[in-house]
């Protein structure tokens, strides 16, 4: 793993966020999906993004990843204002997305999948040795012990192992922010445990992690901050320590806590 790249990242919980969104607007035709969304993602922390179906979570992360641009608003990365026009721009900033359906090729092995589309070459040819070594190092750096061999075909892996490969792929390239879309949605108890540990380890090694999840138990286990989207508006971004599950449920379902208007 690229230890040096990770260590120079900010101290966990420091004031300056790595990724900062302000007043983000996005419409698809007449449908106003995001209405002035703010989001802070700090290095070394897990920021959970929660919200009901249709709240705009997918639109928000697709915008961050450059799959479609935001209509309005400020996108700041590392303190600088940036414009992200496509997935390549996001990749250049060090933003990686692990999608829910993982996008792995079953017929290729772990190493091939981790380097898919970005194969290491030596004099024009595939450098299998270097790729295998780096894949091994990355997995070791994440303390992954569940993969028997990096030359196993992905088809032979369990759901949790596949998730591990997809996450490991996202940190292979000096990434700074990793966005995980429902990483535990289809997993059993033991595998969920493994993946949550891995998510925590990503943050502990200095990356900014955005975790999208419907499972509040998972969110409360690993997140440092919780951002709640409600009908296209960011109704709250709060420290986990300052809130409870029932408050978050109220925010998700009603957009506010108690009878008193918007929270905070």
């Amino acid at each position: 793993m690229t230890a040096t790249a990770l260590e120079r990242s900010a101290v966990p919980g420091s004031s300056e966020p790595l990724l900062q969104l302000r007043g983000i607007q996005k419409s698809f035709g007449a449908v106003h999906v995001l209405r002035g969304v703010d989001l802070d993602v700090k290095a070394g922390e897990v920021t959970a993004l929660v919200g009901d179906n249709g709240a705009g979570k997918s639109t928000l992360i697709k915008g961050i990843a450059g799959i479609h641009g935001f209509d309005e608003g400020e996108y700041r990365f590392d303190g600088r204002r940036v414009t992200v026009h496509g997935p390549k721009d996001a990749g250049a900033l060090g933003i990686e997305v692990v999608y829910q359906d993982l996008a792995l090729c079953d017929n290729l092995d772990v190493v091939h999948n981790m380097f898919l589309g970005r194969e290491l070459r030596r004099s024009g040819l595939l450098d299998e040795d270097a790729m295998e070594q780096r894949a091994r190092e990355t997995l070791d750096g994440l303390s992954v012990r569940t993969l028997q061999s990096v030359r196993t075909k992905v088809a032979a892996l369990s759901g949790g192992q596949r998730q591990t490969v997809a996450i490991a792929r996202s940190v292979l390239w000096n990434s700074r922010v990793v966005i995980l879309d429902e990483p535990t949605a289809a997993l059993g108890v033991a595998q969920t445990e493994q993946v949550l540990l891995l998510v925590r380890r990503l943050a502990d090694s200095g990356l900014g992690v955005i975790l999208i999840s419907h499972n509040l138990n998972d969110v409360f286990r690993v997140a440092d901050e919780i951002a709640v989207l409600y009908l296209g508006q960011m109704v709250a971004q709060i420290r986990k320590a300052d809130t409870t599950q029932s408050q978050v449920v109220q925010l998700i379902t009603a957009g506010r806590v108690g009878d008193e208007g918007a929270f905070a």
């Binding site: 390549k88 090729c105 079953d106 290729l108 040795d129 070791d140 012990r145 028997q148 196993t152 369990s158």
Partner: protein, 421 residues
């Protein structure tokens, strides 16, 4: 490799963890039982067929003359099948590969006879024709998204018409150039055959040995020494036997015309096999072909130019098919409107599938086409020696193809269960 804790004990042992002959054999059996059969069914089928025909026709089938004949017979089909592997790997099909070869050979005939160009320019014209046809098919499939089945079915019909227009109804264009006829008629000098054979074995054994020792030094997974020795030894034995057999005098009347040495067509096949296998397994492009065939959406998200990969595969496949058409024409010393038509394409697809290439995409190797092509050639050759009618040959070939497809389907189900794909 200390971190390799076995948390999934149901996974079969991998070859590099095996030690000793027993270990290697167990790992291989586990691999096959897990559904990763590779070319094993085709190789077994080939052995059975050869034994059966050798018992039934001991004088003719096993003769040196027939052996060389078999290679020349199967050459064109095998070449077309090698190109088709690339299209099949994408999960697409090219029904027009046979007539593409025929059309390219017809264009070549015109360039060579009517325009009196030399053989080299004629061959280039032939391959270029294939590339143009492949580009047209590839653009329609990749850009417009028309299913390849429909596009190539249309090309199959259309190109037959093009051939008729070029050659004329009932006409033929004779091939007289010795250099081109040599492709399927001539043999290498005995010494050259031996040189190529030994270079092949030494090259394979040397390169794999260097690779293994390099990987061992780097602490990566490597092939056990014993497995390397077995593979290299097997290649040595097969190569020496084949070369020895082909180097014997096989002319019925040696005083009139001596016939011995490795056929040129075998060298063409080996050359294509090496080049195409290299492209597929050692370049990023080859890796992307497998990725597109395995999961197109994953490939797209990984930043792979999926349309470009598809287009290039169709261009390559049709260009190789043009070489196949050239060999068909060279063998019959002429091009007719039926060159590359009839069962040519079906045999070529059959060859690739019998060898172990999956029609579902993502799985297959170029060498599969060579093994499958040999199976098909042995069937038609052996059946011919048994004086069976064409009808019986078709029926048996059809059954063999069906068996191969069943093996693919069953191993796929096993692979899905054990996860070896």
């Amino acid at each position: 490799m200390t971190a390799q804790q076995t948390e999934t004990p149901e996974v079969a042992p991998e070859p590099w963890q095996a030690s000793g002959i027993g270990g290697i054999a167990r790992a291989y059996v586990a691999k096959v039982r897990g559904g990763d059969v590779g070319a094993l069914p085709a190789v077994l089928g080939l052995v059975v067929l050869v034994v059966v025909f050798s018992v039934l026709r001991p004088e003719t089938f096993t003769s040196e003359l027939n052996f060389a004949n078999l290679i020349n017979q199967s050459a064109a089909i095998t070449v077309i099948a090698m190109g088709l592997v690339f299209v099949l790997l994408l999960g697409e099909i090219d029904l027009s590969a046979g007539v593409t070869g025929g059309t390219a050979a017809a264009v070549m005939g015109v360039v060579m006879t009517n325009h009196e160009q030399n053989w080299l320019i004629s061959i280039l014209a032939c391959i270029a024709t294939g590339a143009v046809i492949g580009a047209a098919i590839g653009l329609l499939v990749a850009r417009l998204g028309i299913p390849s089945f429909v596009v190539t079915l249309a090309a199959f019909l259309g190109l037959q018409g093009v051939m008729l227009e070029i050659i004329g109804e009932g006409g033929t264009i004779p091939f007289k150039n010795e250099k081109i006829l040599a492709l399927t008629d001539d043999n290498l000098p005995v010494w050259l055959g031996w040189t190529i054979a030994l270079a092949l074995v030494v090259g394979f054994a040397g390169l794999t040995f260097l690779r293994n020792s390099r990987r061992r030094r780097a602490g990566l997974q490597y092939e056990p020494m014993l497995l390397w020795a077995i593979k290299s030894g097997a290649l040595l034995v097969i190569t020496v036997l084949v070369t020895y057999y082909l180097s014997k005098e096989r002319s019925i009347n040696p005083t009139l015309k001596s016939l011995k040495g490795v056929p040129v067509s075998l060298v063409v096949i080996l050359g294509l096999l090496l080049v195409l296998s290299f492209l597929l397994s050692r370049t990023a492009w080859g890796r992307h072909v497998y990725a597109v065939g395995g999961n197109g959406e994953a490939a797209r998200r990984a930043g792979i130019n999926v349309k470009g990969i598809k287009l290039s595969c169709f261009v390559l496949s049709s260009s190789v098919a043009a070489i196949g058409g050239l060999m068909l024409a060279a063998r019959s010393h002429s091009v007719s409107p039926s060159t590359g038509g009839n069962e040519t394409l079906l045999y070529a697809v059959g060859a690739a599938v019998i060898g172990g290439t999956s029609l579902f995409g993502g799985k297959g190797r170029v060498v599969d086409a060579v093994i499958g092509g040999t199976v098909i050639a042995v069937i038609s050759n052996g059946m011919g020696l048994l004086n069976k009618s064409a009808g019986v040959v078709y029926i048996v070939t059809g059954l063999v193809l069906l068996v191969a497809a069943s093996v693919d389907a069953i191993s796929r189900r096993r692979a899905a269960a054990s996860g070896r794909v």
